[in-house]
Symmetry: C2
Subunit: 325 residues, 2 copies
């Protein structure tokens, strides 16, 4: 391990996992999830956001921060209740933009019914930040009877997603670098707590994660590492917009490693037909489908290609796109 | 109000209050306190830390972040229970320093018995940060029967503090600017939750605040604004180390506006003798004393000088020392 922090340490992937191992030596942290259950079925989560640019097609850093925190809670099956928001602002940042970002944050909070109860603001000198960084903290309540864990995953379980892969990362990189690719493409940034509660009512959901940093492939590798069960996803079934596929080809990256901000990957028991039908009724679930399954005698995560071969999807050392969230 | 963020917006004082007013238009936030009580006597708090330098006499940003969060909870009378910690790290930051800071954070958490349950790490490019910024979130439980509020403050109440004023701010500015002033001076950075619980057991405490950004004078002004009651503090009674007084004279600032990180100001009913005796037994209360009282027919906050005159202590537009926490 290098003795200095690199951008790769901050993106999903192997470098970040190495850094987490360092933290675990100090902090005695729990496992894989982004939210943590404490006593009395209370879930907590914390996330910092350094996305660049701050305003992007489909959202801004305020919407992203509240959404990200809601989604981390939702993945534990928790109903989001309270949120705190802190700003680290670079001197010279326009107050109008600060108000716009705050309004975006409040709008998403209102949509989901999470209450913003406080926060903090710090200012740093010009050149010691980059506009604004936001950190959000969420508290949710896990309803009785909900228990989501990789421990419950078994061979034969299906893997379900609620729509197209890679929109957020490609929208950000397009806005940031001005490639002019896929100009109509928007981030998928959306709060999923209501969708998730509807899925849980159907039953059969064993574990959920939002494929943010590191994308779908990284989440699947994390599950493989936790459970020891192999995973196969099917190329033909993957929902990927043509413009995302095209942009990724031009950039030389794989959409399966690109961040999403409005997607849930769920591991379900047996046939997920009923769950998918319910998901498709939700405003954020129109593109829901089954993309793969958990396998008994297989080591690793694989993509079954259109010609029937199995291509390994390893954990990359880092997300190919830094500062995506 | 200027249309851009200045350093002053991030320090305690009038500019920060103006910015808070802007946020209140968007967020519907509660009042004065740094921690917020939600249902079931649960207190939440959030704070970002951008102190410069990261390592300073008496602590580092890790110790400061955990201490600050513990103290915000303590001021509500809450027993600190859970903490989350997030890092925004500048590319190139030494991993050894990251480990040292994390160990400092864990050490303070262990002292108080607060459990660090998770966090997040983001990395930004060289030149888009300043080493490391930390944001911490705390959850505490407010014991039954505890109710601290400015609503309870009345004329005749005494104002108590647990020791010398201004150590943190002067230690930081000395370390940062290399003035070579007061070289033995350390930050007072210390977790006060145990001290506060001992004070609450004595009874008679109506309201507490930690005089961080903006210092003692700013906190007293906030209380004056909330209650409408004037306040007089007595110069002769103020515990200020000679080296802090000397440094402040050289810098042209008033120690009453300098940040502290291990101090509590308590408003108590009547004679605070019993409380002060208990405070002095605590490792962080050796210098406890009464510094003033709440007055009925007085507008504003005043310092009674050694010659008996009343000098107004107004709310400054900003803390004189930026990036102090």
């Amino acid at each position: 391990m290098s003795d200095r922090i690199t951008l790769g340490h901050g993106s999903g992937g192997r470098l970040m996992h190495q850094l987490l191992d360092e933290f675990k030596k100090v902090f005695d942290l729990p496992g894989l999830e982004d939210a943590h259950e404490i006593e009395d079925r209370i879930a907590l989560t914390a996330d910092s956001f350094v996305v660049k640019p701050i305003f992007f097609p489909g959202g801004d850093i305020g919407r992203l921060a509240v959404t990200g925190t809601i989604n981390d809670l939702a993945m534990k099956g928790a109903i989001p209740r309270y949120l705190m928001i802190t700003y680290i602002i670079e001197e010279g940042f326009p107050i109008d933009d600060l108000v716009k970002i705050s309004e975006s944050a409040q709008k998403i909070a209102d949509e989901v019914g999470i209450k913003i109860v406080g926060g903090d603001t710090k200012v740093v000198e010009k050149g010691k930040g980059d506009g604004i960084y936001i950190t959000t903290f969420g508290v949710g309540i896990i309803p009785d009877g909900i228990s989501l864990s990789t421990d419950r995953i078994e061979p034969g379980d299906r893997i379900v997603i609620n729509g197209p892969i890679g929109d957020h990362g490609v929208a950000i990189i397009n806005a940031r670098e001005g490639f002019g690719l896929a100009t109509d493409l928007k981030s998928d940034c959306a709060p999923l707590s209501q969708l998730v509660q509807e899925m849980l009512k159907v039953g059969g959901v064993k574990f959920m994660r939002d494929p943010t940093r590191g994308g779908v492939a990284t989440i699947l590798n994390e599950v493989y590492q936790e459970t020891g069960y192999g995973i196969i996803i099917v190329e033909e079934e993957l929902p990927i917009r043509p413009e995302v596929r095209g942009a990724c080809e031009l950039l030389g990256i794989d959409p399966l490693y690109v961040a999403n901000e409005g997607k849930v990957i769920a591991f379900t028991k047996g046939d997920p037909g009923d769950i998918i039908r319910v998901m498709r009724q939700n405003r954020y679930g129109g593109g829901s489908c089954c993309i793969g399954r958990v396998e008994e005698d297989l080591d690793g995560v694989y993509l079954k290609t259109r010609i029937g071969s199995l291509r390994p999807l390893i954990m990359l050392s880092a997300d190919p796109l830094p500062r995506i969230c």
